[in-house]
Amino acid sequence: MDPILTKYVREPNSFTLDFYLAHEGYDALKMALAKKPDEIIEMVKASGLRGRGGAGFPTGMKWQFVDKKIEPRYIACNADESEPGTFKDHLLMERNPHLLIEGCLIGCYAIGAKTAYIYIRGEFFHVQRVLEQAIAEAYAKGFAGKNILGSGFDCDVYVHRGAGAYEAGEETALLESLEGKRAQPRNKPPFPAVVGLYGKPTAVNNVETLCNVPLVVKNGAEWFTKLGPEKNGGPKLYCVSGQVKRPGVYEASMNITLRELIEGYAGGVRDGRTLKAVIPGGSSVPILMPDQLDTQASFDAIQKAGSLLGSAAIIVLDDTTCMVWLAENLLHFYRHESCGKCTPCREGTDWLHKIVRRIERGEGQMNDLDMLSSISANIAGKTLCAFGDAAVTPIVTTLKHFRHEYEAHIREGKCTLPASWRARNTHVHAGAH
């Protein structure tokens, strides 16, 4: 499949309104405004578009669930891209911002909202400048603001930048943050579609999801479904990183396999090294092994293989990577990012990190392994949001596939695979803030 979402991203000035208009930009908005809002929702439902943020929930259904009896309603675009290994939304916003703005406007029209907030992560300083400039251009030409293109439809689009919190990517935590509070999740139900931003019905959609909406409106639901396997239609962005020759964002249909993405697009592992394992959907999902490389990179096929497509962040690990070190690295992340609201997660991620760290340093005991499993079981499913389940995954999945590495660390009293690319002084990251 030729790139669609990222077709022009390498061309100079692709982020400008002039460029966008010269390439059929805002045509989909015109087409959408000529239809009834319900027709748009039906179209998106028929396309089977699934959320690109991680959960893969059908977007049309989400929009249908938005309570149309209550005013005002909102769209909150989740652009807090923070799942380790994920860097696709950044590319879209930086190089194709008008596509996202068009998606926000069509989404607002469909659910009867008059305001869209694009919540970007704190580190996206430059993305904020690009998006705000694009929004200003859109207002100036009548694509946003009052009486858009003479249709009588009013809609404002704003950028809201976070300040460094992974948890802000969780939809209810994002809304809390947008309301000016700590990014901590709410209990669900009620879901944001009923009680969302400021207690009003809100659709929370990922950047890539909203960028697909103009494509559906322009080309039709059938075109979209035919672009991939059943229930996994449309173009998909994959982020390949880790120990590969050509890391990057690659666009393909979900017919593609992990092997084609890793060995084809990304050039495979570096010379002289062999593939050890793959994390297919960001740091929160279970590992797949080299013999599973021919799995189709679709939501359903990856799930069937025992993992999740998540944010399509494929992290490739070669034979120099110690899996106990990997678990420690990721638990450091989860321990740091736990928002602190639910006790099992706040305390448990710290316990897990301490134990896995001492094993990595050769100071562990065999009964630590049972303790890791037991603590993990007491976090997963016992927290308000999916963070708890995500945080224990690196432990559970490495214990499942690489228990022998943990045992070797404990037996030999040291890390059994100390790669040259790692710190020489093992205490180096104790000082992280």
């Binding site: 100079p12 891209e81 380790p84 290994g85 994920t86 860097f87 950044h90 930086e94 190089r95 907030y117 992560r121 704190g122 580190e123 996206f124 300083f125 430059h126 704003y158 809201h160 930048r161 976070g162 300040a163 460094g164 919190a165 992974y166 943050s177 947008l178 309301e179 000016g180 509070k181 700590r182 990014a183 400021y198 982020c239 390949v240 990183s241 880790g242 890391p247 964002v249 740091s283 992290i315 690990l317 990577t321 990997l326 690295n329 992340f333 928002c339 602190g340 706040r346 710290d350 301490k354 690319w421 710190a423 020489r424 002084n425 180096v428 990251h429 104790a430 000082g431 992280a432 803030h433």
Partner: protein, 194 residues
């Protein structure tokens, strides 16, 4: 350093009251513009941009800055401090002219980020979380910056340095001293700069 994550977010206390604080006229005007993005009865939504303005003006967030922001938004000081102590991008003590933020999460670590931090530590003679004696450099380790295809990544203030080889850490410091942020690679998506 004591290593205890229990209530770890609340450990970052405000260290000083700071000098009297008020937005400059220019920042006050920007604040007034920003607040308009939110419903009139939801001014609190602007707390993050309001704090960014204060930090930009003063370099870090003091108790006096919190008082002013709270006043402007019509919320309590506790509401603002709650936010300041939660988000990692607000500094509650002075930082150096260049804040070196080394991404330490998986994809960067797999490509040598731990070595980048070690080299920077050695060259600057400071540990992560510290500022050098001249007030030029602050070194911090941060979690995933979302630029995993250009690992290892170092964010310097608000700009990106991509594919930072550990052995070139000394060069990065020298270049920053002589050329400032212009020495950085920036984001590779911006083809117009090339």
């Amino acid at each position: 350093m004591a290593y205890d994550a229990t209530f770890h977010k609340s450990k970052r206390k405000l260290e000083d009251e700071g000098p009297p604080f008020e937005y400059t006229a220019e920042n006050r005007a920007r604040f007034d513009e920003i607040v308009k993005r939110y419903p009139p009865d939801r001014r609190r939504s602007a707390v993050l941009p309001a704090l960014y303005l204060a930090q930009h003006q003063q370099g870090y967030i003091t108790a006096n800055a919190i008082r002013h922001v709270a006043q402007c938004l019509g919320i309590t000081r506790a509401d603002v401090e709650d936010v300041v102590s939660f988000y990692t991008m607000f500094y509650t003590k002075p930082v150096g002219k260049f804040v070196l933020q080394v991404c330490r999460t998986l994809s960067c670590a797999l490509n040598g980020a731990e070595r980048v931090t070690e080299e920077l530590q050695e060259k600057l003679g400071i540990k992560p979380g510290e500022t050098d004696a001249t007030g030029t450099f602050t070194l911090i380790e941060v979690e995933c910056l979302g630029a995993c295809d250009r690992a290892p990544v170092v964010m310097v203030n608000d700009a990106w340095q991509e594919c930072q080889a550990p052995e070139d850490a000394g060069k990065l410091i020298e270049q920053l001293r002589s050329r400032g942020e212009a020495a950085l690679t920036g984001c590779h998506h911006i083809v117009e700069h090339k």
